[in-house]
């Protein structure tokens, strides 16, 4: 049967494959284009940015922009803010989500459904929808223009994803492994720390990277709650340049790329786990 079908199939395949390849590359090009344009702009000297006619490639490839950007813009400050906020928010999420996810994965308890519903609903709410209320609350707590405010908010809004992804990882670990540890006299917490967490490492990494990136990329809340430039994270700091009389697009994009590239690489690492976590287990 195979031999009968094969020749016809093979012939059709080549034409199909060429068109597939071409459309694949076109799609890939379209999605990378705005970032390629960022890179090309970041490598142009100042005079070429506002030259007419516009050039596609830099006439003079100015790699030094990536060195100069550090003193033209307060980039180190933005990076420090973004990094500190994202890291603390991520650690906060993991510390709170790991026990919750583990408990949910292993136990049936009263209020379990209510808890899962709460988690699901939080996942669906972006802080954007609540920004007016968040601002009022943060004013009440006297936390305006602090890292702590952003850390707490990012932590809370990203809890859901981590609980989902971690509990699905915990569930996939056979309970017999734990039982063996218990028989050997390990406490429940000890089992979690020494047996379960090492086995669920990919889940931890996914939760870590995802939370870190979403804190790193957040804009609305940071825009609303930070008022002093030295506490602005990258997203807010870099966009504040657009409003200025003369936008230095080359430096703006050099800074943007420095913010984007590491995040994209991290994201590519966890891509295969993401869909399941983001659709909250409804898509296999």
């Amino acid at each position: 049967m195979t031999t009968l079908v094969m020749p016809r199939k093979k012939k059709r395949f080549t034409g199909k494959k060429v068109s597939l390849t071409i459309s694949g590359w076109i799609i890939g090009f379209i999605f990378i284009a705005p970032y390629a344009q960022m890179l090309l702009t970041s490598l142009k000297p100042k005079s070429e940015i506002t030259a007419i006619p516009t050039t596609y490639l830099p006439y003079k490839w100015t790699w030094s922009n990536f060195v100069d950007v550090w003193h033209v813009l307060p980039l180190a400050g933005y990076l420090k803010s973004s990094f500190l906020i994202s890291l603390c928010a991520t650690l906060l999420v993991l510390v709170l989500a790991v026990p919750a996810a583990y408990y949910v994965a292993r136990n049936k308890f009263r209020g379990r459904t209510a808890f899962l519903l709460l988690v699901l609903i939080t996942q669906m709410f972006s802080p954007t929808a609540l920004v007016v209320g968040i601002f009022r609350e943060i004013v009440k707590f006297h936390l305006v223009d602090t890292y702590l405010a952003l850390i707490l908010i990012y932590g809370a809004f990203n809890m859901a994803f981590s609980i989902w992804i971690l509990s699905s990882f915990f569930k996939s670990i056979p309970v017999e492994i734990e039982e063996a540890a218990w028989i050997d006299g390990a406490t429940r917490f000890g089992t979690l720390r020494r047996v379960i967490l090492p086995l669920a490492l990919p889940g931890l990494v996914t939760a870590f990277i995802f939370t870190f990136i979403s804190a790193w990329n957040e804009f609305v809340i940071a825009l609303t709650l930070t008022s002093s430039p030295q506490r602005e994270p990258l997203t807010v700091g870099l966009t504040s340049l657009i409003g200025q009389y003369q936008v230095q697009w080359n430096f703006l994009f050099a800074g943007s790329l420095i913010a984007i590239v590491p995040v994209v690489i991290l994201f590519a690492l966890i891509e295969k786990w993401l869909v399941g976590g983001l659709t909250a287990g409804s898509v296999k």
Binding site: L20, T21, S23, G24, I27, G28, F31, P34, Y35, Q37, M38, T54, Y56, L92, V95, L96, A100, Y103, R106, N107, L120, I121, M124, F125, S126, T128, A129, L130, V131, V132, G133, I134, R136, E137, L152, I153, G155, M159, E179, I183, G185, R188, I213, N217, F219, V220, L234, L238, T239, I242, L252, F253, S256, I260, V263, V264, V275, L278, S282, V283
Partner: protein, 298 residues
């Protein structure tokens, strides 16, 4: 085994230490602001944010009488409908493509991840620059191909600007959606497809009768998630037009923000935000329905 049992039983008393901290965190930082926002929408708040007592539905009344509201509402409807439908229609073939084998597929897959991983703020900044009326590369390309004679200020005219905002919104939504559909596609059993081919089904027939029905759950879920994300989308509009000129490219999400943090009318803004909040709640109920439907069919 006995140890395991007792350990499990002991834990039944102790759900709180395990899930309590996470619940507290969500309650304080998510539920509290929600309640605070709804409360504010019924209060009289002055420009500095000081509360001067209850206000009944006065904020809602001033919102309804806001002359910009009708335009913003109809634009939001267009925004959500067009962006979500276009996103799904584009993501279906893109996912199909990502699932096919061709040289460089891996690279293409990584390319499509970029807009998903990169900050939407920065993506929008790049688009703003591409569409720039003087130095934008889009004008350059169109002029070089002879499609336009004079450069166009794409973001200057509100109707044109709004179309571009929707294009960018689709651009940042397609990667996630394609990956969800791709995850659905990988569950389609290869032998069934092969059997259909042997039975003489052509590509379109196979897609319509086998692949598409199997994709339905993934499609529905990704649509509702997109619905919520697109409705709440803020950075694209904020970076590219700030909702302007005037309020002519605002949606209800950016309008609520603008009334509060630019026009300093916190009461009215809270009422707009509360309306938005209720709309998202409706979407969430739809999501629960859609995903539950999947759970029972599993």
């Amino acid at each position: 085994m006995a140890t395991a049992r007792s350990s499990l039983r002991k834990s039944r008393f102790g759900a709180l230490p395990w899930i309590g901290p996470a619940v507290t965190m969500i309650a304080v930082m998510v539920l509290w602001p929600a309640i605070e926002m709804i409360r504010t929408s019924f209060q009289n708040v002055d420009q500095t944010g000081f509360t001067k007592g209850w206000n009944g539905v006065a904020n809602y009344r001033s919102l309804i009488h806001n002359p910009d509201l009708p335009g913003v509402l109809s634009r939001t409807l267009v925004w959500v409908t067009v962006v979500v439908i276009a996103t799904v229609l584009i993501s279906l073939p893109v996912a199909q493509l990502l699932n096919a084998k061709f040289p460089g597929r891996k690279l293409v897959r990584y390319a499509i991840i970029v807009p998903w991983a990169a900050s939407v703020v920065m993506t929008s900044t790049s688009w703003k620059w591409i569409l720039d009326g003087y130095y934008g590369v889009l004008n350059k390309v169109l002029q070089d191909f002879g499609l336009i004679k004079e450069p166009i200020d794409w973001l200057g005219n509100p109707n044109q600007a709004f179309i571009w905002l929707m294009v960018v919104a689709v651009f940042v939504s397609v990667p996630f959606t394609s990956y969800v559909i791709l995850a659905g596609l990988t569950t389609v059993p290869g032998d069934i497809l092969e059997a259909a081919t042997v039975d003489g089904a052509d590509g379109f027939q196979r897609y319509r009768t086998i692949i598409f029905p199997l994709l339905r759950p993934a499609l529905l879920v990704s649509m509702v998630i997109n619905l919520i994300n697109v409705f709440n989308s803020f950075p694209i509009i904020w970076v590219m037009t700030t909702g302007g000129p005037g309020y002519l490219t605002d949606t209800t999400t950016t309008l609520a923000y603008k009334i509060s943090f630019r026009d300093q009318d916190i009461g009215q803004s809270a009422s707009m935000a509360t309306v938005n909040f209720c709309i998202v709640l409706v979407f969430i109920v739809v999501f629960l329905k859609v995903s539950k439907w999947r759970e029972t069919s599993e």
